[in-house]
Amino acid sequence: MKNCLTALLLLTFTCFSWAQTQATSVNFETQTITMAMTQEPPQLNGMKATDQVSIMILSHVMEGLTRYDRRGNIVPGVAERWEVSDTEATFWLRDDAMWSDGQPVTAHDFVFAWRNALKPQTASEYAFILYPLLNGEAINKGEMDPAALGVEALDDRTLHIRFERPTGYFDKLTAFVTYFPVRQDFFETKNQRFGADAEDLVYNGAFQISQWVHSASLRMTKNPYYWDRDNIHLNAINADYITADTRSRLNLFIDGKIVSTALDGETYKDALTQRFRIRRFTTGTVFFLEYNHREQRVTANLNLRRAIQHVFDPDEMVNKVLATPGNLPGKSLFPVWLKGKTDKFRQEYRAPEAALDLDLAREYLQKAKTELGLTAMPPLVLLVGDSPTAAKQAEYLQGKLKSTLGLDIKIDIQTFKQRLAKMTAGDFDIVAAGWGPDFDDVMTFGDLLSSWNLNNRGRYNNPAYDEQVRIAMNSADPKVRMDAMGKLQQIVFDDAVVLPQYEQGVIYLLHPELRGVVRRVVGADPDFTYAQVVKPNQTK
């Protein structure tokens, strides 16, 4: 027993010896902030990253040709100016863009990164975002050599790009992680370990990762080689806590340990009693019910889908079921924040709305039964994820469709991977799905239901829909593109392809002494790049 005690004391001592000082959430003197992450970034190889945490970290430590400013506009990044036409684009890189080891960022770094991301062997899930480049898709499918990609470095500072099709929003794409540069010599020395640890990356963004203890902490410090370093105020961003538990993060916030935390239905009530200022942010993701359009399914019947369309009330969904502030009722596949020709898309093209009309809905249902030759509808399988909110929403729908149309719903709750497998195999009648934007253009939602899109899990197939997508794809004229998208919005409604439920909003807490944090729909979210800590008495 005595030995046991000695061992324990020794253990205690070692624990103290690698002790770190306990940081507070904000520090004005050192311009340091501490935050929590929901998970460890799984992939810091920009060519392959797909998840939000990795993209958030990468956007702080890397920079593409362009970047988003505080107001969400595209501004120069590594490139100081550029010209984009229907067929080609040229980017001129700035002289003072450096890697964190002092070497210059050159046009060759972009050529290498883009070719590499498209190589089939890389197996990048985001490779499709590079398809606007000439031969991009063919290379990704292994039909062409990566050298045939429509990108070349005319010299160290000039990057020339040829397009597969007109891409008016190309300057927005270049702000995305898959378009970030990678230095060939560095990548090759790391081989398979590129991005696995802090020293397995070289940085060209506003910050660099100076310490990364897996699953425990990640420390980003100001990059002394960053060209715009004078406009970066924070010296360090410490992600000292990694936990998906919202209550745990709220406790850390109350204890003054982290600058920000998202709230859910439960923690929201506690935050209210603590009298914190609760902020809202619309994530840009649209949640909808996707019908299975495969022939053998009853949901392939238009009148059945219309019947459901006329009894579903998105306002009730948002106010009574979700019941946290910030969510918007879903009226269209195209969310409200998307830009149109000059104004917001949804202001230029109003979303058609189905009136809540039970008699009409029953009429549609009767027609559906006649067409299907059924006296009673079989139970519909509603596939949902395994979160408590997903179950709540599913039960609401179950009750709603039973009480109005007398339809039976069988709820099929599945874990993440199992749900995906069933979605892909078409093993459902209705699936609760969501779609978030990959880039800041209406096309990121528009082509979702085209017949060739693999994410169209309901296998909706309508030549009229595909045609409008092609029109928008092959034009750089905003009017032509937006008119086509307006028609798509109408088709989605008329055909009741999917049933929009809500546009996701999140509520969160933010330390009042931290200013300039940007929440973004596309790219790094939250973005601390331009943030700074103000003196306590400056806060209201």
Binding site: W18, A19, Q22, P120, Y126, A196, A216, N251, A421, N455
Partner: protein, 310 residues
């Protein structure tokens, strides 16, 4: 003795092999696809992913490749933490779980012995009733409730004091470990209290206690020298498996207190169908448990000659 030890070891190896095989088969039978993600990928990319992780080969061949690599101590690359080796994950995170677990066992063992002894001394009187009530709470209330309550308590203490006395979450210093290890050890402490109580009560009526009383020894001396030392034996024997159970069972505590332990990987790998991490952590934890049991068996063999003959 040597033959006995070797026999135990051989049985242990077969057990680990069985664990590995059963996990491998169960894992491949679970519906779902480890390579599927939110964004659908083209058939070409999928094929490349399958080649990278060796999933393009028949399952039987995958099994033999896995077994071969496992014998060389290599569990491969994680599916979700894409550039990390499973060996690195175990090496980085098991020490954290082990530290937490050992501290939890320390709390559980000292607490269990003290409370158990107290209940036996005050048998059927008020302290016994109160402690036994708390013991039943400790056994029946799940650890996530205690974890949340414990953390809330820290938040309240800190806000009363106006500064952070004990951190509410995180990892790094000894003060970070206090609350999570107490929460983690609570269930085992309750179990040990009951064990200690019954073993104390058994001993009270033994002849040698009566002799000690008859000799006129002081009650304190009888308690420490005779009762406690004999009653503690069953508690020590149960510690081996308890250590394994606690160091591997801390998922919830690790989540709530933001602790970078292996338990998180163990559970999340199953949810994410991260084949290599599932195999790595299961085989590792399985082997650890088997090793603990073997150690106890061998120690038994030393202590009790009857065991060796079986």
């Amino acid at each position: 003795m040597l033959a006995y030890t070797l026999k135990r070891l051989l049985a242990g190896i077969i057990t680990v092999w069985f664990i590995a095989t059963a996990t491998f088969m169960a894992m491949h039978m679970v519906p779902g696809d480890p390579l599927m993600n939110d964004k659908a990928v083209s058939a070409e990319i999928r094929k490349n992913l399958e080649v990278k992780y060796g999933l393009d080969k028949p399952v039987v061949e995958q099994y033999f490749i896995f077994m071969g690599n496992m014998l060389q101590g290599d569990f491969g690359i994680s599916f979700t933490q894409q550039n990390r080796r499973v060996n690195d994950i175990i090496r980085d995170h098991f020490p954290v779980s082990a530290t937490l677990g050992l501290l939890a066992i320390f709390f559980a063992a000292t607490g269990g012995v003290i409370w158990g002894a107290l209940t036996a001394i005050y048998r059927n009187r008020l302290p016994d009733i109160i402690i036994m009530f708390l013991v039943i709470l400790g056994i029946s209330v799940p650890s996530f409730v205690f974890a949340a309550l414990g953390q809330l308590m820290l938040v309240n203490i800190n806000s009363l004091l106006g500064f952070s006395l004990i951190p509410v979450a995180g990892w790094g210093t000894f003060s970070h470990m206090l609350m999570p290890s107490m929460v983690l050890g609570l269930g085992t402490m309750a179990l040990l209290t009951r064990l200690m109580r019954s073993s104390m009560l058994e001993i009270v009526n033994e002849d040698y206690i009566k002799t000690a009383k008859a000799k006129g020894l002081s009650p304190m001396r009888i308690f420490f020298k005779h009762q406690l030392r004999n009653a503690i034996l069953p508690v020590i024997t149960i510690l081996g498996p308890s250590i394994a159970a606690i160091t591997t069972g801390g998922f919830v505590v690790e989540l709530v207190f933001a602790i970078p332990g292996l338990g998180r990987y163990f559970v999340q790998a199953v949810q994410q169908l991260d084949y290599t991490v599932i195999m790595g952590t299961t085989v590792f934890f399985g082997a650890f448990l088997v090793l603990m049991v073997i150690l106890v068996d061998i120690i038994y063999g030393f202590v009790d000659p009857r065991v060796r003959l079986q």
